[in-house]
């Protein structure tokens, strides 16, 4: 179904972090941006669609004025809003937001880091755009910071802090189907496996809370009102977002899942785990019967590699890209 294409070499190897691959497709310029985190650096590659031009850039985690220990980056992700695209980088010290090409930092939010380290680690992790003008970022305490983003410029402000999760935020996602009918437009996940479903607005509204089962949910997606969640047990679960009804349960991987992605136009689902496998599935919704079907389509094994990021490169799922711990390349696959 897919075959391997030429890999993109990056300057450093990928670190073992959840969802460690960012992809932004810039159709008007026929290029795609990729981001891969290595310790305290984000490696950015801009790849032209004809495969002829690659340009690289590295972004460092920002540290406060006083020289202290290195701030490790937990995640880098693109947020596509109707008016603009931003690159958000979350670390142990705070949240940096850049123009999507990484050229200018437009905003910095410092986390409250204690003078001496505490038992509970402090970091930001979990990034998503929400609705038209919000960017949400999770924190290790379980709080979710909601930032109001103007259509231009750097006047980004902290609009709200949502305190519903009791454990560290792992990942979050917005409704990606483009459908206006979905009430819920954001899902957030934590280290205990709890999922919160939100309706965004001036004041975010909690629509539903789906309890965890004492296992971390490391990656989550929201599509056509369905939450798709990947867990440390290697299981994938599909829930109806607003009601919490369990639609499907898949024993998908033999190790901890690190990344999920959905191609919104086709319903293809990509899952990747520490077990070296990337799997492609097809989700089919039947609104009349309120049911979901999950079909397994394809496996790719990245030999001797614990995968840490996997994303589709386009909305149909025609191509996808993969990163692995200790690998200094972005591996690409294209439909045959």
């Amino acid at each position: 179904m897919y075959h391997k294409e030429k890999s993109i070499q990056i300057k450093n190897s990928a670190s073992a972090l959840y969802n460690n691959l960012g992809v932004l497709r810039i159709a008007p310029r026929r290029l795609t941006y990729f981001t891969v985190v290595h310790a305290n650096v984000v490696n950015m590659v801009s790849a032209s669609w004809d495969g002829l031009n690659y340009s690289h850039r590295q972004l460092q985690s920002k540290e406060p004025n006083v020289a202290t220990s290195t701030s490790l980056i937990m995640q880098a992700a693109f947020c596509a809003l109707p008016s603009r695209d931003l690159l958000v980088v979350t670390s142990q010290k705070g949240i940096q937001m850049y123009e999507s090409d990484g050229s200018i930092m437009v905003y910095w939010h410092a986390l409250d880091t204690p003078e001496t380290p505490t038992e509970q680690a402090v970091f930001a992790r979990g990034i998503s755009a929400a609705w038209e003008n919000y960017i949400c970022v999770g924190v290790s305490s379980g709080a979710i910071l909601v930032f109001d983003v103007p259509s231009k410029g750097s006047n980004i402000t902290l609009s709200e802090v949502l305190e519903e999760h009791k454990e560290s935020i792992t990942d979050m996602a917005s409704e990606c189907s483009g459908s206006q009918e979905c009430i819920a437009n954001l899902v957030t996940a934590d280290d205990g496996g709890s999922l919160c479903v939100w309706k965004s607005g001036e004041e975010f509204q909690l629509l539903n809370k789906i309890p965890g089962f004492d296992m971390s949910c490391s990656s989550v997606k929201l599509w056509k009102g369905t939450v798709v969640a990947g867990y440390g047990t290697g299981q994938i679960r599909l829930y109806e977002a607003v009601t919490g009804i369990l639609h499907a349960e898949v024993n998908a991987h033999a190790r901890w899942i690190y990344s999920l992605d959905i191609a919104p136009f086709s319903g293809l689902l990509l899952s990747a785990a520490e077990d070296s496998l990337v799997r492609v599935w097809l989700l089919t919704m039947t609104p009349e019967t309120n049911s979901v079907e999950v079909a397994h389509l394809h496996n790719e094994c990245v030999t001797d590699t614990q995968i840490c990021g996997a994303k589709f490169c386009d909305g149909d799922g025609y191509a996808f890209a993969v990163t692995g711990y200790d690998l200094s390349e972005i591996i690409r696959y294209v439909q045959s």
Binding site: N12, A16, L17, A248, N251, A254, Q306
Partner: protein, 348 residues
């Protein structure tokens, strides 16, 4: 990232070091009483109460340099002497072994079982010496108290922190190459077969449910591997069957152990690029560790650079040796004759 990583890193690396030293002491036919003294002295230092107190405090992981210095000093807490090349080899073996164990742990929580395997072996080394034994038992209690309440997600954070520490290390170790757990490019073999982790199901089942919760259908898919059901869970108590073999002594069958250095230059270059910015805290770390490990005075700024590695020349070592030698054999002179175990590490 996780502020609870350092104790696990130190104990597991220390455990590996002891396995290697024990094997070398046997291979070189060092008299039993001398060998036992070396092992006891090192273990006593490793589990020194003040050092452990500092170790178990919540803190960020030490830099590679700072941790290497701790182990340099630990290796010299006995009458044994190592030149730099030998110490390099020892450290490479220790770190690659623990990297292997961390990568191959089926679940992040299993790193604790690996740590208990090391602790169990250490306990066995000192079972005839009650004073040291009680220090080891106390450490078990501290490990249990700190780590057993942690969630799976918190263990994964610890594991991710360790993997950043081990990033880009691909030193080839002949015992791993022979056992086919490491490829010739230095990367470890990750099998897509064998038992799944405790708590995970063999990948194959897709279950669909109705709105009322009843199962509507179940299908199987081809998982591309050859997995079987999970083994029973290992014990997280002071005594018990850990089930996993990771962290047990792979040198206990006497076989030659070597490292190949050819793979390192590229990987260390990659590493130094990221850590290029000087870390002003590095001096602080070295001073604190030096104080605790060797009972030394705080070094003046000019002295705390890497000339520490030329260990034989450093007069401070005589002091360390004096501090930690139980029998009170204080004179540096005695150690350079007869008792000199320098040649021992050449076998590495």
């Amino acid at each position: 990232m996780s502020s609870r990583t350092l104790p696990l890193l130190f104990i597991n690396l220390g455990g590996e070091m002891l396995y290697i030293l024990d094997q070398r002491l046997r291979a070189q036919n060092i008299p039993a009483d001398k060998a036992k003294k070396v092992m006891n002295d090192i273990i006593t230092t490793m589990f020194n109460k003040k050092f452990l107190e500092e170790l178990f405090k919540p803190q960020e992981l030490y830099s590679k340099k700072a941790l290497r210095t701790v182990f340099d000093r630990l290796a010299h807490a006995s009458i044994m002497r190592l030149n730099q090349a030998s110490m390099d080899k020892l450290y490479d073996l220790m770190t690659m072994a623990f990297k292997y164990q961390v990568l191959l742990c089926p679940r992040p929580k299993d790193i604790l079982l690996v740590s208990f395997n090391h602790m169990d072996a250490i306990k066995d080394f000192v079972k005839d010496t009650p004073t040291i034994l009680s220090q080891v038992d106390e450490t078990y209690r501290q490990l249990i108290e700190m780590y057993t309440p942690l969630s799976h997600g918190e263990f994964q954070l610890i594991r991710q922190t360790l993997l950043i520490f081990f990033q880009d290390m691909h030193i080839r170790v002949s015992i791993f190459l022979k056992d086919k757990v490491q490829n010739s490019n230095g990367r470890f073999v990750l099998p897509t077969s064998g038992p799944v982790p405790h708590g995970t199901q063999v990948p194959s089942l897709i279950r669909i449910f109705s709105c009322t919760g009843e199962e509507l259908s179940r299908q199987q898919f081809n998982n591309g591997g050859n997995y079987n059901a999970a083994l029973r869970e290992g014990s997280f108590e002071i005594f018990g069957d850990r089930v996993t073999k990771l962290g047990t002594n792979m040198y206990s069958v006497s076989r030659p152990v070597e490292t190949h250095m050819s793979g390192t230059s590229k990987s260390s270059a990659q590493h130094t690029k990221v850590n290029a910015a000087p870390n002003p805290l590095a001096k602080e770390e070295l001073n604190l560790l030096a104080r605790l490990m060797g009972g030394l005075e705080v070094q003046k700024p000019g002295n705390t650079d890497m000339s520490l590695y030329d260990l034989q020349a450093n007069a401070e070592l005589a002091k360390i040796m004096g501090e930690f030698t139980e029998s009170g054999d204080q004179s540096p002179g005695a150690s350079s004759k007869g008792d000199d175990l320098l040649a021992m590490m050449d076998g590495l």
